[in-house]
């Protein structure tokens, strides 16, 4: 993280970085350029990247257990595409303009919530959530929302379209102290809740019925975790756009490293996901400097080959041996 703060268009030594942070925490900041760069620009950005990375990783690991499907990710329930509709509407047509910097975030949170609710309502059979149905409905409604986004882009003006595209691919470029606390705290609380569910999640990995026989309240656990992970994904999308691949791949990488016991997977995932995202953001800022690459591009470029190497080295992942 120190690295992530230090490196940029102006490089700072780790010592200088910590100097600034310590000064601020001690309550007497200095009025230097380094101070402005670290405290105003880079620190909030790195913190946001870390918390979003951690959240997407744990949310991804949890969703994969809930639907018992290795290809699941936190955006499974149409959350990213719903958020895209909301954000696109804001960016292209200036909805919620009076809210200033919060407009895009609000637009995408509303979009994500609407998508999530729609998916839940459509896939509800009696009072149960059937995983397969949930996946199918999520995929179908995602496609629908995506075409709405495309329609909006098609109707909007070309310049705004550029910013929509950039937003869709994800970035931490807008991080600042005013916007940071609410989403960061929300995500941290959600991560904490998930960390407490390691043991029931292990039971759940056996399947819903064995989990019931092990004393897990299956309906309640599934419902709570779906809602929590969906909200996490929605918040993450709202603050940083759609950063693909992290929620899908990082949980796998972590499982390959420490096994499937979720009491290890989740905490390790927090650390690993946060570092992965901070490094990814660092690359996004530096590779084509002074321009910025969308971080979604970076995460896919690093994540995909890494996973392929790991899978080839340990081929039994997810029943591949059968």
């Amino acid at each position: 993280m120190t690295l992530g703060i230090g490196i940029g268009s102006v490089s700072l030594s780790p010592r200088a970085v910590w100097q600034v942070i310590v000064d601020h925490l001690a309550g007497h900041p200095r009025n230097t350029v380094a101070d402005a760069i670290v405290w105003q620009i880079r620190l909030p950005r790195v913190l946001l990247a870390a918390v979003v990375g951690a959240a997407l990783t744990t949310a991804g690991a949890v969703v994969q257990v809930l639907v018992r499907n290795a290809l699941a990710d936190p955006f499974l329930l149409g959350i990213s595409s719903g958020a895209s509709v909301g954000a696109t509407a804001v960016l292209l047509f200036g909805a919620f303009a009076s809210l200033g910097i919060w407009a895009v975030s609000l637009g995408s949170v509303l979009g994500a919530l609407a998508a999530m609710t729609a998916v839940f309502l459509v896939s509800r059979t009696r009072r149960q959530l059937a995983p397969t149905q949930l996946i199918l409905v999520g995929v179908v409604l995602s496609a629908l929302f995506e075409s709405v986004t495309s329609f909006l882009i098609f109707r909007g003006n070309p310049q705004a379209t550029q910013s929509v595209l950039f937003w869709l691919l994800g970035s931490f470029g807008n991080a600042n102290w005013t916007q940071l606390p609410i989403p960061a705290i929300a995500l941290a609380v959600a991560i904490g809740y998930q960390l407490a569910q390691g043991r029931p999640l292990n039971a759940f990995a056996m399947g819903a019925e064995p989990a019931a026989s092990l004393g897990v309240d299956v309906h309640r656990l599934r419902r709570n975790l779906f809602i929590v992970t969906s909200l996490m994904a929605g918040v993450a999308v709202a603050v940083s756009g759609v950063i693909g691949f992290v929620g899908l791949v990082v949980p796998h990488i972590v499982r390959l490293m420490v096994g499937s016991d979720h009491r290890r997977v989740l905490p390790v995932g927090v650390v690993f996901g946060a570092s992965f995202m901070v490094l990814g953001d660092l690359l996004a800022r530096t590779i084509v400097a002074p321009q910025e690459m969308p971080i979604g591009v970076i995460t896919a470029f690093i994540g995909a080959p890494t996973l392929i190497v790991l899978i080839r080295r340990r081929p039994y992942l997810y029943g591949a041996t059968q």
Binding site: R199, A205, M206, A208, P210, G259
Partner: protein, 271 residues
């Protein structure tokens, strides 16, 4: 410490699957639940471990309503071994058996020495010590089933529910699994497919057809050619097991019905 089902009826998707089921499993006994595919064996068992909620009736454990207990408390009394299952995630045998400790633990409790001792002992009792650190998914069907039994032991329950635990297993593992379970000091209710094996291991059996209990009692009284024809619609011979004296099924070919049974026929090649 008996397990009693009293007037149990279960609906699935608005359709009555089993109705008015009464079964008593006395302490330490091995009771078999028999019946053709789709007769409701699994449904009854799943109503006991809370997958299905019964419309009427009760499940009593020592006279206490099991379904009104907290899920965790219930799981400390009743463990379940179902058909051999696939697990998408890569757990070691030790981790698998440790999952049996779930109902004994709170959200942030760590595994302590007691847990580890219980797990090691459970693995030893099913004879899987040398598999402890193997990945569960790499085991054979019979080994997997023994590990799942170890998980049930580690759960520390005094009642065991088996849902066709010998499915897909070859004869050696079928015998091994049932021998293992019958040797436990547990109260067992097991849905079983193979009537001859059931007769060999069960203290008493209940025969189910179309969601109702047709008859129940000691295997010798229940497993008769007439009852099998009634419940399964299959024509079989029932003879006495030469060692145990329990009923044993011999299938017959209906296409040969014209032939007198006592006439020696040439042995047909086994396919």
């Amino acid at each position: 410490m008996s397990l009693d089902l009293v007037g149990l009826s279960v609906d699935i998707a608005g359709r009555r699957i089993v109705s008015d089921i009464d079964i008593t499993v006395p302490e330490g006994r091995f009771v078999g639940l028999l019946g053709p595919n789709g007769s409701g064996k699994s449904t009854i068992l799943k109503a006991i471990y809370r997958v299905h909620r019964p419309v009427t009736g009760q499940v009593l454990l020592d006279g206490v309503d099991l379904l009104s207990m907290r899920p965790k408390d219930a799981a400390r009394r009743i463990a379940v071994v179902a058909q051999e299952s696939t697990v998408e995630f890569d757990f070691t045998v030790f981790e698998m058996v440790m999952i049996g400790r779930t109902p004994h633990k709170g959200a942030f409790d760590r595994d302590d020495d007691t847990d580890r001792a219980v797990v090691a002992e459970a693995i030893e009792r099913v004879g899987c010590e040398d598999l402890t650190h193997r990945s569960f998914n790499t085991l054979s069907g019979g080994e997997k089933q023994r590990v799942l039994i170890a998980r049930a032991i580690a759960q520390g329950a005094d009642h065991l529910i088996l849902d066709e635990p010998t499915n897909h297993l070859d004869i050696r593992y079928q015998l091994e699994v049932l021998e293992l379970v019958a040797g436990f000091d547990m109260t067992v209710l097991a849905a079983l497919h193979d009537l001859s094996l059931a007769a060999l291991f069960c203290d008493s059996v209940c025969l189910l057809a179309d969601g109702v209990i047709v008859t129940s009692g000691p295997p010798k009284a229940v497993i008769t050619a007439e009852m099998v024809r009634h419940a399964y619609g299959a024509d079989v011979l029932v003879i006495e097991h030469p060692e145990s004296g329990t009923p044993h099924l011999i299938p017959r070919r209906t296409s040969r019905e014209g032939l007198p049974l006592d006439r020696p026929t040439r042995p047909t090649p086994i396919q």
